[in-house]
Subunit: 401 residues, 2 copies
């Protein structure tokens, strides 16, 4: 692999480049592709991540509505004393549908209609747990530092997004995770970045607020909301123990770990991130979390390029501009055995479905023993020392220097 001088700058169009997996499938012969799939995607001998056939009607509907639809199944060993616990999980990535200059009520309505369409498709496909992307109900205006986008913030318990998701959860008997911009009226109208968890009978089970807030140039989201105060809850639903690691929290391994320590079998990672910034990290972090914590991960990224009315800078020397970059979609699932699904398209709305036997989590915990060998006591002590202002790093200096 020699470096190329050709620009691969990412404007989201990139003629025909929908996903890396489709490129590989197009060019690498089947016998060689098997090696690539095994090493890079964890499709082990005898345990491929298999494509799941969906009804032709559903496939046609997705094509007509122009959203990517893919379905796979992970494999676990049968056990003698437990039946399999197979859950069908869906991830939705959506673009914003209406321009950011449209009246806000129209923008929101357009997104609601688009997502309703994809959630109904998920329901028709038998999806039992569904997660939407971060701040799915609004444009990602945080790059502008303008506060008018806060108008989209709503009550986690009774806002319009929550009511829509409750209706769809009831209709399909589906757990829905709805990551929104929350306005917390009980605490002076404070804004939070919050995932609302709705049970399969339509009740709001609870909410979780984003633990880590980015300050990456113009991605300083603390302009809008601060670090969450909800700990690391795991929601015990009809379809397994589920947690939500919102967006930038995926860069923090202890955040992933904390959900694991509380018993998560599936952690959803609703995100919004652009190509230049993070695309090479995207295939790594969710998989590492799945491996290290012996649970499934569903990683969801926003899709599309969003143009805003007023120019803004990005703290990177470029002239002021009106878009933040291309949200590259590429949502996928990762399993605790280091396997993963292909990605949804980089440039299209999409619904990714996977069947997963939650028994695999315990099987992998037993096989690799990471929880048993983790030496939490050692790290509890080291962290307690580290957070003291007078912390002295453990350094051994070459005496010849």
């Amino acid at each position: 692999m020699n470096g190329t001088t050709e620009s691969v700058a990412d404007d989201g169009s990139l003629g025909g480049f929908e996903s890396v997996e489709k490129l590989l499938q197009e060019y690498v012969p089947a016998d060689k592709l098997a090696h690539v799939q095994r090493v890079l995607y964890g499709w082990n001998c005898g345990k491929p991540v298999a494509a799941v056939p969906l009804s032709p009607k559903l496939v046609a509907a997705a094509a007509a509505a122009s959203f990517d639809l893919q379905a796979y199944s992970f494999t676990a060993a049968p056990e003698q004393l437990r039946p399999p616990r197979i859950v069908r999980v869906g991830l939705v990535q959506n673009s914003i549908c209406a321009p950011t200059t449209a009246p806000f009520v129209q923008q929101r309505q357009a997104i609601f209609e688009r997502c309703r369409q994809m959630i109904d498709a998920a329901g028709a496909a038998g999806v039992q747990v569904l997660c939407l992307q971060e701040a799915w109900h609004m444009p990602f205006g945080f790059c502008t530092r303008e506060k008018q986008w806060n108008e989209f913030a709503e009550s986690a318990e009774s806002g319009p997004s929550t009511r829509l998701c409750q209706e769809l959860a009831r209709k399909h008997g589906m757990v829905i995770i709805s990551p929104i911009l929350e306005r917390d009226e009980a605490h002076g109208g404070t804004i939070w970045n919050t995932a609302v968890v709705i049970g399969h009978t339509g009740g709001v089970l609870g909410k979780h607020r984003k633990v880590h807030i980015p300050r990456v140039g113009d991605f300083n989201e603390s302009t809008y909301y601060m670090e969450g105060n909800t700990g690391h809850p795991v929601f015990e639903t009809a379809f397994g123990r589920i947690a939500v690691n919102i967006c930038y929290g995926r860069h923090h391994p202890m955040n992933w770990q904390a959900f694991g320590l509380n018993g998560a079998e599936l952690v959803l990672n609703p995100s919004a991130t652009v190509g230049e910034l993070s695309e090479p990290m995207w295939p790594i972090e969710a998989r590492n979390a799945a491996i290290a914590n012996s649970y499934y991960v569903g990683a969801i990224n926003r899709v599309g390029t969003e143009t805003f009315p007023n120019p803004f800078t990005s703290g990177d020397g470029r002239p002021a501009h009106t878009d933040f970059g291309h949200f590259y979609g590429s949502s996928y699932f990762a399993a605790p055995d280091a396997s993963r699904t292909p990605s949804l398209a980089r440039n299209k709305d999409g619904l990714m479905i996977a069947d997963m036997d939650l028994n695999l989590c315990q099987q992998l915990r037993d096989k690799w023993g990471f929880r048993m060998t983790a030496r939490y006591e050692l790290y509890a002590e080291e962290l307690a020392r580290y957070v003291r202002p007078n912390f002295q790093p453990q350094v051994i200096r070459d005496p010849s220097l």
Copy 2:
């Protein structure tokens, strides 16, 4: 990517399959390969991980001695107030050379000669920091549970491996990390899995003992040595602040993190792991550590299939056998900007070289701010709670269940 039913079981031969990167380069056209390299290898627009030309003499010598030799350079931005701190680092992966039935002194001598050859090549190439693989000086007999392999254990401070590395460190002005089986005479002859760090003038700077010990079926190394008691030291050498995360420690994110908190800019991960078990994890874990901790990682794996005199079982239902599987080599470097080098061969000894500007670590810390946003206090508290026997996980149960 459809699942394939063709077996891709890995016996190490796999006709012509030397590395995934070579497969991709062979089949994917250059303009498409650029996309694959960007997304899967972090070779960003304008910042490729470039191949570094080595002297034709060196290249010919490596070919004649039949070891893989590759060299790359990572890119960092120039700064105004610090000069670049470019270090040339080398990773050596070696097979055992002599059969495991040969007299131990011959086995060791054969490995010493082979590694001397590759370390001398590294010296000729100007390598300043070099790391060998886990237990490089002996066969990986731990799969047999026989204790005779302990004969290879030696003093970290003055054993034959250390003396060889000291000689070569002095000769080449090179820091050498030598991961060995240690016999600790000061504590009753206890066995440890230990990395000895030798400074560029040949002095033993110190040692670090493997923090996490696997118990994965027959990979129960606690038959031989227990959890290390040396904390997470960082060695301040003439060529940067270096730490060593030995083998199975790569599955433990807090282990990687602890070296980062103590100031590491480069963490070496000398390993010994086989295909069926871990190959799909291999491209993930070192890169995630480099990203999350804003430092470079050098991941080294043993190479070859080692056959032992007496049959042993592996706790996996197979009949007794005499080899543990194929150590798949594939050593590589990962950088904090999410880029990585290709891998060394899966089936050949090798020397991987990379030039890295250590300034990139601080640049990435400043860009992404992971240290600033990590909320260590929160996790120090959560871990302190977790290690108590009466820990109650934070679970929110659906009341309808």
